[in-house]
Amino acid sequence: MIAMMASTAPTTLVHLSAVDLGIIAFYFALVLGIGFYLKRFANTGEDFFLAGREMTAWVAGLAFVSANLGSLELLGWAGSAYQYGILAAHWYWIGAIPAMVFLGIVMMPFYYISKTHSVPGYLQLRYGSATSALSAVTFAIMTILMSGVNMYAMAVVMKVVLGWNINFSIWVSSLTVGIYVASGGLFSAIFNEVLQFFLIWFGALLIPILGLIETGGWKGMVARIQQNFPGQDYTHAWSTLGRFQDNPMGMHWTGIVFGLGAVQAMGYWTTDFLVVQRVLSAKDIRSAKMAPIIGSYFKMAVPLIVILPGLLGLAVLPMHLVPASSLQPGQYSYNEVLPLMLARYCGPGLLGLGITALVAGFMAGMAGNVSAFATVWTYDIYRPFLRKTAPDQHYVSMGRWCTLIGLVVSIGTAYLAMGFASIMDYVQALFGFFIAPLFGTVLLGMLWKRVSRAAGFCGLLAGTLSSVTMFTLMKLDHRWVGIFALSPKAQGLAQDMYQALWACVTCVVVTVLVTLVTKPRPDEELKGLVYALTEVAQEEHTSFLHRPLFWGITALAALLVLQIIFW
């Protein structure tokens, strides 16, 4: 997809002025300066890998949501909004908010009380080495691959939008990320994510504001879309989900509710260490519970700067964008809708801000992946399997070197990505292989003390293998789509949702069956790891305005209102 974008782009979309270049240069100088400043504070393992566990709920919450607000997501989902309409907003609403609230209220206490450094670290405590190693190795591979894809995607976007050389973008961005993450560890990554959050909002919010002024508001935008694309419904989130053939995604509401909301989103937001690591940096358990809930409010608002520009593109762009796979010279792909809208409304200065927001998003994506990789490699692979006893300083050095080595390997995967036109599709599928079953394993382990070590490992392995098998069968023979995704009309995203659902169900069923025929671990070994054997501090004497539960329920109520408004 990305390679296609690079090879057939007509000309550069925009030209930067001196003030735009000044804005970009200042961003690089600031993040490098912050990295050097933070180096002196990242001395111990807890400092380097968990930012000293002293972040407030707000900082951890913004970093948590920013870790998933990279430019790959921004460009991709804006393109999906152009392609599928407001259905793409489900990935920000039902596909995120309930899971974030669930993480804060139910799962965070276990991660936090067990004092683990990572999700594989929790699996080590709960299920032992085999399950932890399986999860750690797959996660390490994923993060490196994702970091490389982020790097390559950034280089391609910079080439398409600005005409910059791909090699120049790859090396400058990776050198910058390498310096500031190796210096300050998670401190640097989190600081940069908070900066990126503000940059993205200030850089992108003008597009929907000016777009709605141009179209005369929401009703005017809907009228223009109907005029440009007659007979298609792009502005209703639920009313077209009754039948697969009624919407451009080929999606049914069961796929959205069960596949996306109950499995895919729950798996990603509660077990993907890249995002969970941000919350683990919180200074106390209340902040750790509040962080994902604070993040959920911002996440709910993100469609304003991602989905709405895609919809506005349908209304105001003079040309029709096309899929990347059928791009011809002189045409633009769906993924270019955000840069096109940026170029439509933003002149010198604002253009530099928008481009800097994209660059910051890509670099934060790389930083998030390499910092998570360094933690999982050092604490979940190197320490338990290669060098069990070493001074804390040794592991910090290992973390710094891992950051740099991870980036060098990422550069390799970035060049590798050039050879595959649709590598992003495969990377997303790879995530689907591991995240959905992992959710079943972690959740059962937290809620049911009877689950044995063998059951955890077998369930995770069976879920992963079933996911890989379903993916392969659907790619080899389209008839399998009708079986696994319930309809032959199901498109890629719909297939992913059902694949995740069945993989999680497989994991749960196998885990339960193996549990019933194996010996459980003694209760004493499970204290602080399982719901029935963990004392979580109660909040009876706290004002309801300070209770995570209150804000979690309010977030769910706001989500419900949004669904009714855009039904």
Binding site: C346, G347, G352
Partner: protein, 71 residues
């Protein structure tokens, strides 16, 4: 945020970023006031009010979270 380490708060860096960017964008908007660029809705002079908003917010953050300010 950083009781153990006494690190300058991230909000101060956010303030610096907004302040500098707000100034540059506002100045750029004022400079092009009489000959706006060839973009849609250029007559609204978005860089001027957007830059001013960023400048004011940046200033507030810089003052409120200044490392020299006593808690």
């Amino acid at each position: 945020m950083s009781e153990k380490h006494h690190i300058i708060q991230v909000w101060f860096f956010v303030g610096v970023l907004l302040l500098v960017y707000g100034f540059l964008i506002l100045a750029s908007g004022l400079a092009e006031w009489s000959h706006p660029p060839n973009i849609v809705l250029a007559e609204l002079h978005a860089p001027v009010w957007w830059g001013a908003l960023m400048l004011v917010l940046g200033l507030i953050y810089c003052i409120k979270f200044s490392p020299n300010r006593k808690p």
